[in-house]
Each structure stands twice: as C-alpha cells, then as structure tokens.
C-alpha cells in the first residue's frame, strides 16, 4: 500500500473527483488504496476489528457522499479521508461505554497490526513528520505522550489523567500549553 507520496496525492484527488461524478469504480480503487490505512486508524482508536470495519464502511460512504465538497487546496486527500475515518471512529468510541487500560497494551498491540505495507512517503511528508517529531520532543514526555494518546488512541482527558495519575484539569492544561508551543515550533520550521 502506498498512500502518501506527492504524485499519489494527484491520483487520490482524481479518484475523489471521480467519486463526485458517481464513479463507483473509483471508490473501489480508493478503498483498495487507502482502506487498510484508514482501517488501522480506526482500529487503534477502537481496538476492535469488528468496530473498525463498521467505521470504515461508514467512512467510505461519507467519502462518497461528500466527495463533491472536497477541496484539494484546503487539505491533502489523505488528510481529508483520514479525518473522516478518525472522527467516525471517535463518534463510535463515544457510543462505547467500555473503558480499557489501552495505555499498557498499546505498544504490543501496534506491533501486532496485521496486513499492509509501510506507506511510502514523499520528501515533503517526511519533512512534516520529521518536524513534528522534533517539535514534540521539546514539549516534555508527559505532554508528548498525552497528545499521542489522544490523537492516535482516542483517549479522553479523563483516561489520560488516569494514566498519569493526575487530574483532568492538569491534562487540559498540558494539552493546551503543548498545542501552543507545538504550533510555535512548527511555524518556525
């Protein structure tokens, strides 16, 4: 699976445009290209194959229905699709009442992710990634980890507080201070 090179952005944009023209073949190609990646995003948040598959289905229906409103100058195609999948996974998570101790397990679980290849990256995407990780490390371990737990694994403020044996207001403060400093750092790159 190669989903994030610059040239492939054009291809993904083209496929989304064809979806807007109600070309179901384009949706299938899109599903084959980015489905595994989006499925992994949803799985990390939901920790359930069944639920992530359901979310993936909802995400692709939304991609199909909203394809005409996608604007390439506002977001890269993969970012647009990943946001749809993540937000649907978060919606689904909100419906689930179970609370799991995901923090302890997540490192092992990530190594167990089945199927798919490492996505190829463009120079631009690699730079973004490099800068983000460089900036994250300047925030301190607690803030960095809090952002990762929230973004990657769908943790709420309460769950993050539980992991760090602190209170929710502290986590809220970590995240907001972290966002402020992260933005300054990213914009200076």
């Amino acid at each position: 699976m190669t989903v994030s090179t610059d040239n492939q952005d054009d291809e993904l944009i083209n496929l989304i445009a064809r979806c807007a023209l109600r070309d179901q073949t384009a949706l299938k190609v899109l599903f084959e290209r980015v489905g595994p990646y989006l499925n992994a995003l949803a799985w990390r948040i939901l920790k359930s194959k069944e639920l992530s598959n359901e979310v993936l289905q909802e995400a692709f229906l939304q991609i199909w229905n909203n394809a005409a409103s996608y604007r390439p100058h506002l977001a890269r195609p993969l970012t647009w699709m990943a946001s749809i999948a993540r937000y649907r996974a978060l919606d689904r998570l909100a419906l689930e009442t179970r609370i799991k101790d995901k923090f302890v397990a997540h490192n092992d679980e990530m190594e167990d992710l089945p199927g798919g290849d490492e996505p190829e990256r463009s120079v631009g995407a690699s730079q973004l990634r490099f800068h983000l990780h460089q900036c994250l490390t300047t925030l301190g371990d607690n803030i960095k980890r809090s952002i990762e737990l929230a973004y990657l694994y769908g943790y709420s403020r309460e769950e993050i507080a539980q992991q760090f044996a602190t209170n929710t207001n502290t986590v809220k403060s970590w995240l907001h201070r972290g966002a402020e400093r992260l933005r300054l750092c990213l914009e200076s790159k």
Binding site: L56, A94, L113
Partner: protein
C-alpha cells in the same frame, strides 16, 4: 477556551459530547475555525504515517456496495416531474424552460445557481437527456438527468468540443445518473467556456481509455452563454 485550543482539542479528539457537537456546528460556517482545524489535521497526520495498514474484511466493501445501491434505488425509481414537457416544446424554449424550472424548484434561495453557461444535451430524436449548467462564476456544475440508462459494464462520459480546434476534451465520467451538483475545477471551467457544444458518450468503465470519445454518442447539445440569451430576450 479560545479557538486555537478548541481546534486542537477537536482534532485530537479530547473534545467530547455537547462541546464537540457545538464545535461541529460552528465548523459548518466559521472559516477561521475551519482553518485552525485544517492546520492541526495536516500537522498531526504525521503522527500516524508510520503505522501499517490493516486489510479490511471483504464484507466491508460488500456492505458499502449494498448501501450505495440502497442510496441510488429511490432516486432511480422516481419519475421525472417534468418529463411530459420535453417532447412538446422547441429546443430553444426547452433550454430556457429547463433553466427556469431549475431555478424555481430550488427551495432554498441560497442554493439557486447564478447560472452562466448552459447546454441541453438531446438524443437523436431531440429528447433531452441531460442539462448541464455552470453556476456562480464557474465554481459549480449543475446536472439534471432525464431517463438516461447506463448499460451494464459501461459508464457515461461528458466531453467538451472546443470551438477553437474542434477537439473533444473530457469533463467527467459517470457510473450513475443521480449526481446533481459538482465542484468545477479551473481547467474544466475553461473547457466549458471554450466549448461550442457538449457531448455524452458511452464508454468502458472508468471512461475512454484513449481519452477520445467513442462512436456511441448518446446526446449532444450546444453550449450557450446564458447572459447573452437573457439579453436577446
């Protein structure tokens, strides 16, 4: 909470419940907040780039196909409200009537197209098959389909025939005929502005492999600048 923090909380997902819903409401119209959200969506994407994919179960695609069929079935079954009008009027009257009806049936005034170019594509018998209208300065393409049938394993393709060089250039491929509104790219807008007429052809799935229209032309129609038509009236 300021908008920068709100956008960050929204994208990371820690904004939950009613707060999240309120944020989503605002995002529908607040462009400054949309920009903040877009910034974080793009930046934080790099957190997940490293992860491998998980091949979805085959049932997922089958489920999507099934849901898409459910979505399109009612639309396909719905008869055209104005079908009876088409055979009885001349091509020019049809052109203007279609546009007027189109504007009238738009219930929300904000949704009414500020039309600029229009083409009514008719088949050999003169029966309209597709009305194509560009609106709001070439930003949107509006489509009104009649009873166009797509054969199995075939797609339809819309082409602009240039008034400069007579060449056909592709505007879009259609697997179904329920789409009514599309964003128009700048190159597509230029093709329409340059077009003498538009044609609709039957092609293999995915569109013409040669980027040339097939010989099966289902409909064609002259491309008219609507502002000039209005002046003539």
């Amino acid at each position: 909470m300021d908008d920068k923090s709100l956008a960050f909380d929204y994208v990371t997902g820690v904004l939950r419940g009613a707060e999240r819903e309120q944020c989503e409401q605002r995002l529908r119209s607040d462009t400054a907040l949309q920009a903040e959200v877009s910034f974080w969506e793009e930046q934080l994407m790099s957190l997940s780039d490293e992860q491998q994919g998980i091949t979805p179960d085959p049932e997922v695609w089958r489920g999507i196909e099934s849901r898409l069929q459910q979505q399109t079935r009612p639309a396909a079954a719905r008869p055209s409200r104005f079908a009876w009008l088409w055979p009885s009027v001349s091509a020019f009257a049809t052109l203007m009537l279609a546009v007027c009806i189109w504007l009238l049936v738009a219930r929300d005034p904000l949704q009414q197209p500020n039309a600029d170019y229009v083409a009514i594509l008719t088949d050999e018998s003169g029966a309209p098959q597709l009305t194509v209208l560009t609106a709001t300065g070439g930003v949107q393409l509006w489509l009104k389909w009649e009873a166009v049938k797509i054969n199995a394993d075939k797609n339809l393709q819309l082409w602009a025939i240039s008034k400069r060089d007579g060449q056909a250039r592709p505007l879009g491929v259609f697997a179904q005929t329920d789409i009514q509104q599309l964003p128009l790219t700048v190159p597509q807008w230029r093709l329409i502005k340059d077009a003498s007429h538009l044609i609709l052809t039957e092609e293999d799935v995915g569109g013409s492999p040669l980027d040339e229209p097939s010989e099966i032309v289902l409909a064609k129609g002259v491309c008219v600048l609507l502002a000039q038509v209005k002046k003539a009236i």
